[in-house]
Symmetry: C2
Subunit: 176 residues, 2 copies
């Protein structure tokens, strides 16, 4: 994996792909599927996300205040669904779904080698956790996989139905 400039992180999150979220607690990592997230700041890149108390990852995220957002391409769609349909309280999802963990540089939760991008994050705001399960994260280190230069991501529209990235159009714009 190569270092990705932090100023480019929003270009991966703003289009709204399904992502994986890794956490770690007491030395034991876990991973969940996540679709409710958005950018809140370009630089330093900050991301808001919703992790429900019903998710096994919730307590680890709230306690350890660190996570990794790993972005899968469409080839991982079946695993992404599988990860979303079981709980880390019952299984080691990394083992079950054949995910290769890689040590992160700045946080304890692991990177996922099969994902084309990995974002190491720290929790910076928990004021809306109790009312909306909303965490604000800051990306402290970002990585991309040079062997996946043109990944197509997936976008969830409910009940296992995903729209895959299609054609690209570029229009003259002054907006970043």
């Amino acid at each position: 994996m190569q270092e990705l400039p932090l100023a480019k992180v929003y270009q991966l999150i703003e289009p709204g792909p399904v992502v994986l979220l890794t956490t770690a607690r007491r030395g034991r990592p876990n991973v969940m599927t996540m679709s409710w997230h958005m950018m809140v700041e370009f630089t330093p890149p900050r991301i808001a996300c919703v992790v429900s108390p019903a998710d096994h990852s919730f307590s680890a995220l709230r306690a350890a205040r660190e996570c990794v957002i790993a972005i899968p391409a469409v080839e991982m769609a079946q695993k992404v669904v599988g990860i979303g349909n079981c709980s880390g309280s019952e299984v080691d999802k990394f083992e079950r779904f054949g995910l290769t963990t890689v040590a992160a540089r700045s946080v304890k939760p692991p990177l996922i080698a099969e994902c084309f991008a990995n974002l190491e994050c720290r929790v910076v705001n928990t004021r809306l956790v109790n009312i909306h399960s909303l965490f604000v994260l800051e990306v402290v280190q970002a990585w991309s996989d040079p062997d996946q230069p043109e990944p197509r991501t997936i976008h969830h529209t409910g009940y296992g139905r995903f729209v895959v990235d299609g054609e690209v159009i570029t229009l003259a714009s002054r907006m970043p």
Copy 2:
């Protein structure tokens, strides 16, 4: 436009399309382009979004606490960019871009007839507005256009580059 059940709203927002946001203040409506938004609750549907103080819409949204999220299909991409590249402080964007406004049922900001879905929203949480420009909205009424049954949305990856919805895949899943 037909009423859309509120329980289906998340299926439109979760995949992360670029949307338009209408506001109104002192009887004058405005519209902006928005890409930083996410679901925070299924039912009642709640949506978090980032509207910057640099946006002309910010003061109207904070003061009137109402807005409409209108979702455009790819055919409107050129207008979506145009709307994002000028300010309501200088132009009537509805007139400039030929958008047809329709009165909403429950809020003052208008619906946009050319969009395939329109979500009437009230602001329900402003605790992160000062620090992150983050508003939490609740959708109180939703509409869809039966004449646009299979819209393809656009997802912004920066600097006027958009990924258009491509193929659809459906995988067995227990998740909503």
